[in-house]
Amino acid sequence: MLLIYCPYCEEERSELEFRQAGDAHIARPTNMTEMTDEEFEAFFFLRDNVKGLTYERWRHLNGCGRFFNAARDTVSDKFVTTYKAGLPKPDISTLRPATEATVETYEATESNAK
């Protein structure tokens, strides 16, 4: 079970109190009715399935109730940082976790075997 730092409560709380809420930094367009089908598809349906650092929204549901953003490594599950909703994406180069080589994966096992 992870500990997650809520940027509003300003403390680490148990994962049980939080709910993931999808990708972060996808602003809802203000000109919804003027969007082409392709633009709407890109906005609403298309998501990257990132291996590594990803930006996602979380809600401190059983806490302060606020939505915030997090940069998390999908390989190690580690939260690199959390920040308030509306703040810009933090600089990736300063955020990449220092350690954490890839954990056991099928490919890793296979390439080791070769």
């Binding site: 809802r28 203000t30 929204r57 075997a113």
Partner: protein, 997 residues
């Protein structure tokens, strides 16, 4: 007498403290502190189980948690049974009942043992090959039979009457394992003042000190030092010592799961005590001191009862005072087994010979063996054994030299060396590294804030282990800001430094042999099976593992993994590290469901939500149904009525007279603020600017993709205040949906959202006499049709308490929904009931509510819609604001597929035979005579018997349904095909006049 094989003066148990237990119907004597394994061995019982696949007789292999064979069922009473308990871990208590497993009819005569003779048909991977055809046979013939034949214990059938507890704990340093290393580390950490938790899976601390009597620490015997140190630690305020506690899982951010066996060893436990306690520990730092596990030798027929690990025999002798045989042999590739022979010899047991696969055993142990007069056969191998239910002889041959000679024995102690227990380290996502010199995997790259010390870290020497552990204890405490006031002094000596060790198949079980040389006892995997897997193309160790099931049993290959890996590497012609180690997964040892489920069972499994009027409804005879966590009154049967009759009566009564209904479970959200109307404009498809205070409107909420998400009536209480209702099931997610948009997309809007679901009790009064029923109770509200028309809301008083009174209807009748503060709900319900009953009105439940709304074609989101239905599909297009420039879902609604022809649309269905009630979920076809598989054009979403219409009614989603009015469609059922006619959705009072009555 506690067993003929108990050696007077040996061991640490007290001879006077006896206990009796029953094994397979036979009573045995034991001593307090015995495990089931030691007690059985004391009584000369080696045969304790049958193997999984071949049903071969099996005995006790180890003296600890790594035990692959000796799995037993333990019974306290009819309800408290536990299968698959390791006999080497379970302590004996007086009166316990132990049963062996996986045998029929008895342990010594097992019909299933025929599998052993048929073993050529059960080679590795046989499941995947033998039972493939015909396809259906796997499910119905093969699998059930294989499951019955192969298998472990039998689950208890009664509810567990014990309880389990759970505790969260935080500490600066968690020490896993309380052997020399763990205790030293804990002592050093504790002396700094850091909060320390130290746990150990065994009943007593000490680890290897259980068997190694040669160890002296700080001038006293090692085991005695360990107990004294544990007592000292337990006496410190900042330390928690947890024996009988297994760290089973190491999770993210130093979150470690422990299970403490609280009463499993007690004859008459206090029923107030939990059987087990689950500890969820968050540690700033973790010290892993989990030691090492001895490996067995891999040779032909190495699985007979009486063949066991050398360290286990030493534990049984030195701790439990039990000789595992009268004439024992030793087969080893490692010095440590010699010490077992020395201890047994000194205790008066005959040691037939030490067979050492090495040409050059360690010099020190060799000298000691000569001194004790023990024959050592270096460069020799045990190439076979004999003995039906217990080993009776071993065949010993010079390495590379044929069949050899037979030596009579009644126990054979084996050791191929020691495997560091890197399970916890690996679970923490640390990467192990292969140490070529010592040929073992050791902790390499750490992923979390932890340190491995002692044998699990590859440290062999006793004093080096102590120094390393003391340093780790201090270092890990420093991380929390604690420093040592003085250095902790621990000095230890032991008899011999151990050399040697091997992995893989021994002499006579190598390539091109077909002998049964077991590497995984529990899953009956032999050396040859690994080779077969490689020959059949499995080159990844993960594939080999799954093909052979090596290491996949409940012991997770604690003995077998390294052997399997070594044989795979040899067959593949690669180095061991190039083949790779399989991943260690939690749990380290099996964890009971009881410990994990803990309090979350029965009434505590899930919260139950009851409305304020629950007790009154119960008193009126309501039958309740579960709606999410809510208990809702379903129907109110009267004497002699079944459900159908009760519901028919309720339906008629509401339309003829009136009915009262508990609608408290509806979600309620108070939307307040200067921008409240603007916010609702964005959340709902409707327009809210035009709604005047005191009026209500039915609103539809979409997801961004254009599909219906929820619906409900919204009342405008004031310019800046709305009373929003949602579906019962949607309350929480609608609140989340609104909060999400308000916080992240529309943060410029000045609006507050407050969940008010449980603040209001809601009593719906519906029917022609609804007004008459409530009129005398209401103060300050003109109830006339003119002053208070349909879809209005007023604030006033009812029965003297404040109310938000809604004029609305989900029945199509004149209706009111009385909202009062929740605590007043029962009193107001009672007062309304007092008026309603004499007039002939009734209470009605959710079933009647469903039918009445269906008679009027009102949809239920989630029943008549399924997340792919647009407002237009549901004939609710009128509720979408045509002039609006934005709302959630506005763009989704314009997607090509959502405006295409032929979409599934909600329509009514009338069966040609009015008596036939369709099944909800039934599929609809246009042509019942078409070839299979038929083209299904929709399905029934709601279907009821309507007493008011005198016939069945149904709603359905049908492709291009609105264009099919009057068309005949068909609902094929297993026994017949039902013809239906497509109709509009309103079945009763099509003009809709009654609502304004």
């Amino acid at each position: 007498m506690s067993g003929a094989n108990r050696i007077p003066g040996a061991g640490r148990l007290t001879p006077a403290k006896t206990a009796r237990f029953v094994f397979d119907g036979k009573s045995f004597a034991a001593l307090e502190g015995d495990t089931v394994a030691s007690a059985l061995l004391a009584n000369g019982v080696h045969l304790v189980g049958r193997s999984f696949k071949y049903h071969r007789p099996r005995g006790i292999v180890s003296a600890g948690a790594e035990e692959p064979n000796a799995l037993i069922g333990v019974e306290r009473d009819a309800a408290r049974k536990q299968p698959n308990v390791r006999a080497t871990v379970q302590e004996v208590f007086d009166g316990m009942k132990v049963i062996s497993q996986n045998r029929w009819p008895s342990l010594s005569f097992d019909v299933g043992a025929v599998n052993n003779l048929l073993s050529p048909f059960f080679a590795a991977g046989f499941y995947y090959k033998t039972f493939m055809w015909p396809k259906q046979a796997w499910k119905h013939v093969y699998e059930p039979r294989i499951r019955a034949a192969a298998g472990l214990g039998v689950s208890p059938t009664e509810d567990d009457t014990d309880h389990y507890s759970s505790r969260y704990a935080h500490c600066d340093v968690l020490v896993i394992g309380a052997g020399v290393a763990g205790l030293s580390a804990a002592l050093a950490a504790a002396k700094t003042g850091a909060r320390v938790i130290i746990c150990d899976e065994q009943a007593e601390v000490g680890g290897a000190l259980h068997y190694d009597k040669s160890v002296t620490i700080n001038g006293i015997e090692g085991f005695t030092w360990a107990q004294a140190t544990a007592a000292e630690l337990a006496g410190m305020e900042n330390v928690t010592v947890l024996p009988r506690t297994t760290a089973f899982g190491y999770y993210a951010q130093n979150f470690v799961g422990l299970t403490e066996r609280v009463t499993e060893h007690l004859a008459k436990p206090d029923r107030k005590l939990p059987r087990e306690r689950l500890w969820q520990v968050r540690a700033k730092r973790v010290i892993i001191a989990t030691g090492a596990i001895e490996r067995h030798m891999v040779f032909a027929n190495n699985d007979r009862p009486g063949i066991m690990l050398a360290s286990a025999a030493r534990t049984f002798l030195n701790h439990f005072g039990v000789a595992v045989g009268k004439k024992v042999g030793v087969y080893t590739a490692n010095d440590s087994a010699y010490e077992a022979a020395f201890d047994l010899k000194r205790a008066g047991i005959t040691v037939a010979a030490i067979v050492d696969s090495r040409e050059k055993p360690g010099e020190a142990v060799l000298a000691e063996a000569r001194k004790l007069g023990i024959e050592v056969l270096a460069g020799h191998a045990v190439v076979d054994t004999a003995g039906k239910l217990r080993v009776s002889s071993m065949s010993v041959a010079r390495n590379g030299g044929g069949r050899g000679r037979s030596i009579a024995i009644d126990a054979l102690l084996v050791s191929a060396g020691w495997t560091p227990s890197v399970h916890m380290f690996s679970q923490s996502r640390g990467k192990v590294a292969y140490d070529h010199e010592s040929q073992r995997f050791l902790p390499g790259t750490y992923a979390q804030d932890c340190l491995s010390v002692g044998a699990c870290n590859g440290t062999n020497d006793l004093q080096a282990t102590i120094e390393e552990s003391l340093a780790a204890g201090e270092l890990m405490s420093n991380a929390s800001g604690f420093t040592a006031a003085q250095k902790v002094e621990v000095h230890g000596t032991n008899a011999f430094a151990w050399t040697g060790g091997m992995a893989g198949a021994a002499e006579g079980a190598g390539p091109d042999t077909t002998v049964k040389a077991f590497i995984d006892f529990q899953n009956d995997v032999c050396a040859k099976d690994i080779r077969l897997a490689v020959r059949e193309g499995m080159h990844s160790i993960e594939h080999i593992k799954r093909f052979t099931t090596n290491g996949m049993a409940t012991d997770q290959g604690k003995l077998s993994n390294i052997h399997g890996l070594a044989i795979a590497a040899e067959t593949l012609g690669r180095e061991i590290p190039k083949v790779g180690l399989t991943t260690f997964r939690a749990p380290y040892t099996p964890v009971t469901f009881g410990a994990l489920i803990n309090h979350s069972r029965g009434e505590l499994f899930d919260p139950t939500r009851k409305t304020p009027m629950h007790a009154l409804e119960e008193a009126q005879g309501a039958v309740f149904e579960d709606v999410g966590q809510w208990k809702r009154a379903w129907y109110y049967p009267r004497a002699g009525e079944d459900m159908h009759q009760a519901v028919n009566r309720e339906c008629k009564t509401v339309r003829d007279v009136a009915g009262i209904f508990d609608a408290s479970t509806l979600g309620k959200i108070e939307v307040v603020g200067p921008d409240a109307a603007q916010f609702l404009n964005l959340i709902y498809t409707n327009s809210w600017d035009t709604l005047k205070p005191g009026r209500c409107r039915y609103g539809i909420m979409l997801r961004e993709d254009g599909f219906v998400y929820d619906d409900g009536v919204v009342g405008r209480m004031a310019e800046d205040r709305f009373h929003v209702t949602t579906t019962t099931g949607g309350a929480a997610r609608v609140m989340n949906h609104m909060e999400d948009y308000l916080q992240t997309e529309f943060p410029h809007l000045n609006v507050w959202l407050t969940s008010a679901t449980e603040q209001w009790a809601v009593i719906a009064v519906q029917g022609p006499k609804a007004r008459e029923i409530i009129a005398p109770l209401v103060e300050g509200i003109d109830l006339s049709n003119e002053a208070f028309p349909h879809m209005s809301v007023r604030e006033g008083k009812i029965c003297g308490v404040p109310t938000r009174l809604f004029r609305m209807s989900f029945t199509g009748e004149t209706g009111f929904e009385v909202n009062v503060p929740a605590d007043f709900g029962p009193a107001v319900w009672a007062a309304i009931w007092e008026r309603a009953e004499p007039m002939g009105a009734c209470s009605y439940g959710t079933e009647t509510m469903h039918i009445l709304r269906a008679e009027k074609g009102y949809i239920i989101v989630g029943q008549d819609t399924d997340g792919t239905v647009t407002p237009d599909d549901a004939s609710l297009g009128w509720a979408v604001g045509k002039k609006k420039t934005d709302f959630v879902g506005i763009r989704g609604l314009r997607r090509p597929d959502l405006v295409a022809d032929g979409r599934k649309q909600l329509v009514g269905l009338l069966t040609k035979d009015p008596k036939v009630v369709l099944e909800e979920g039934a599929q609809i076809v246009a042509d019942p005579n078409q070839a299979l598989p038929m083209t299904m054009i929709g399905h029934v979403t709601s279907s009821y018997w309507s007493e008011n219409c005198g016939r069945s009614i149904a709603l359905a989603l049908v492709a291009a349904g609105k264009a099919r009015l009057g068309e005949t469609l068909y609902v094929p059922m297993p026994d017949r095909t039902i013809a239906v006619e497509v109709s509009d959705m309103v079945f009763f009072d099509k003009e809709g006049g009654r609502i304004n009555g």
